[in-house]
Symmetry: C2
Subunit: 338 residues, 2 copies
């Protein structure tokens, strides 16, 4: 039987007026109480035909999320984590995917602003922070996830990319590799740049320096990773790397495909390590050794910080740096002695 | 050097006023011309600080997309295809993910309506079409993708799920399997139901009938697929299926994981076939035989139909049924003789 507003009020132990206030986004109801009532509504599968009215108050209870490519499972999984946490706190989420193009970033920033989101979560890079000025001027709170703008005073949730790079390098060095190469994302992507830096710094500690030719900048797609990996793996035997550090799992999959095409065995002939630990990493052939980002905690944290901002209870701006973790699967091994 | 409005006008061979009209969404400019000018803007990476003004016209040039779970690569890839096609025609896209919950479907439908999208693409199931009445009343065009509401007069783009089911069955029968089982999505998901029907119909032609116990309804997640597959694969040898038809690639991955946990070899001990052909299918171990949905053409088509609606040039409501395709990889083979 369909739940009514009476059922919700009874179950939540509040008045019908309180439930109504939650739906109308009005009244002096506390955020905690509001969240509880929303939970009861969901538990009872309460479907008021007027739920739209919950969105007519001054606050819209809507958050915006900007990602560079929703078909990259890393960002799809981030979006899912953000949606879940937002929902549990009574917020809806609209997602926009920018294809990493500045023109689309600007268009979508304007769009979300026009659509009156309460706050915005930005997971896409941008060349210059001026794009954000219109939002800041209108006092729309912004937080960033997985990307950062160092000279922008906003809450930011990232993984420690530099440390992730060092973890990857240490793992490959421990296995005995000395001929290494990197598939990086475009140099303007700070997170990728930091991963490369961490990787190179660890190598240079024991005197290994990668030639420019062994650090490839790609777009972030499987196809790009494959093309660059093919070039690296077709180098003369003396120069050919025995291990590839890929700055995301998509690029690592490209590398696996390149190896397969050249009939090289992974990990016997070539070790491959990725970054992100999306669903892809656990299903590849062989399963991918990768540097895991804590996707769920990151998504949860960024929503919590944004909502603190919305409530004006926000502490000083935080840069929350979460630790990555090396997940060893079967795509890395000691180089074979030839 | 940054492109100016003059550069755009020159390159497009139009007046500055025409470019301005495109940005303001006003004037009598033709859609074809408008699209051309938008292409030039992107080509020149033109970034007017007033691009927001493109969104202040009567039309918002924004489309909404509702999907059940953005972390399912099938829907993430649909979203990507829709965004690309929308963008090439000058439309922005906002995406909402409903977690397959009716309560969230309703909330997001209201939300997108409030946010004044020009039209809405729905890829999520819903229990009753009344949820859509408010949109229909306000004459907001709706099209559906990958899901259908049979008694609703809207353009719909789907794959032929029934035929997809028959393709999966024929493939497994041709290989010599006779003990089969199905991991299906929830019975309320019509597309999954049709896949099951097609599969069963083909089996019954040669007198094979599946017991209820061999048709498992799951949620659509890897974990659910794994749990149900474990139960099936732990049946006594005489009842244990030699082949599993999984109604999406996520469930198939669950099945692969279950097989691995039980130390069963795929495909020697158990064949697994999926549905969708997302990025996942090509990277699993072993690579997944699956029924491919033409994701890009579907995304493109649904946007084209929606925009015809917006221009009121729409023909009678169409149900566009695209043909699926069997993609044979390495997760299916003849059953081993014991």
């Amino acid at each position: 039987m369909k739940a009514t507003i009476y059922d919700v009020a009874r179950e939540a132990g509040v008045s019908i007026a309180a439930v109504s206030q939650v739906m109308n986004g009005k009244g002096k109801i506390s955020e905690e109480r509001r969240t509880e009532i929303l939970k009861v509504m969901e538990k009872l599968n309460y479907q008021p035909s007027v739920i739209a009215s919950a969105l007519t108050g001054k606050k819209t209870y809507t958050l915006g999320l900007l990602v560079p490519d929703i078909s990259n499972p890393f960002f799809a999984e981030i979006a899912r984590a953000v949606e879940d946490q937002g929902h549990s706190l009574g917020y809806s989420l609209v997602i926009c995917s920018t294809d990493n193009k500045d023109e689309r970033v600007e268009r979508y920033l304007s769009l979300l602003q026009q659509k009156s989101v309460d706050g915005m979560i930005i997971g896409t890079g941008m060349d210059n922070k001026d794009m954000l000025t219109p939002l800041m001027d209108r006092a729309i709170p912004i937080v960033m996830i997985a990307r950062e703008m160092p000279d922008l005073a906003v809450h930011t949730v990232v993984v420690d990319d530099f440390v992730g790079g060092t973890m990857a390098a240490k793992h490959l060095l421990d296995l005995g590799h000395t001929r290494l190469a990197i598939l990086a994302e475009h140099a303007k992507v700070i997170s990728s740049r930091e991963r490369v830096k961490g990787f190179m710094a660890t190598l240079s500690e024991i005197g290994i320096k990668l030639s420019e030719d062994h650090v490839r900048n790609c777009r972030y797609t499987v196809e790009d990773g494959k093309r660059e990996a093919l070039e690296l793996l077709e180098l003369p035997a003396a120069e050919r790397p025995t291990a590839l550090f890929c700055c995301n799992d998509m690029l690592a999959i490209g590398a696996l495909q390149a190896a397969k095409q050249l009939k090289l065995r992974v990990p016997e002939d070539i070790s491959v390590i990725g970054f992100d630990n999306t669903i892809l990493a656990s299903v590849t052939d062989p399963p991918l050794t990768t540097i895991a980002q804590p996707i769920e905690p990151m998504g949860k944290k960024v929503v919590d910080l944004l909502i603190l901002e919305l409530k004006k209870k926000s502490p000083a701006k935080q840069r929350v740096v979460m630790l990555p973790e090396l997940i060893v699967r079967q795509s890395t091994a000691a180089p074979s002695k030839v």
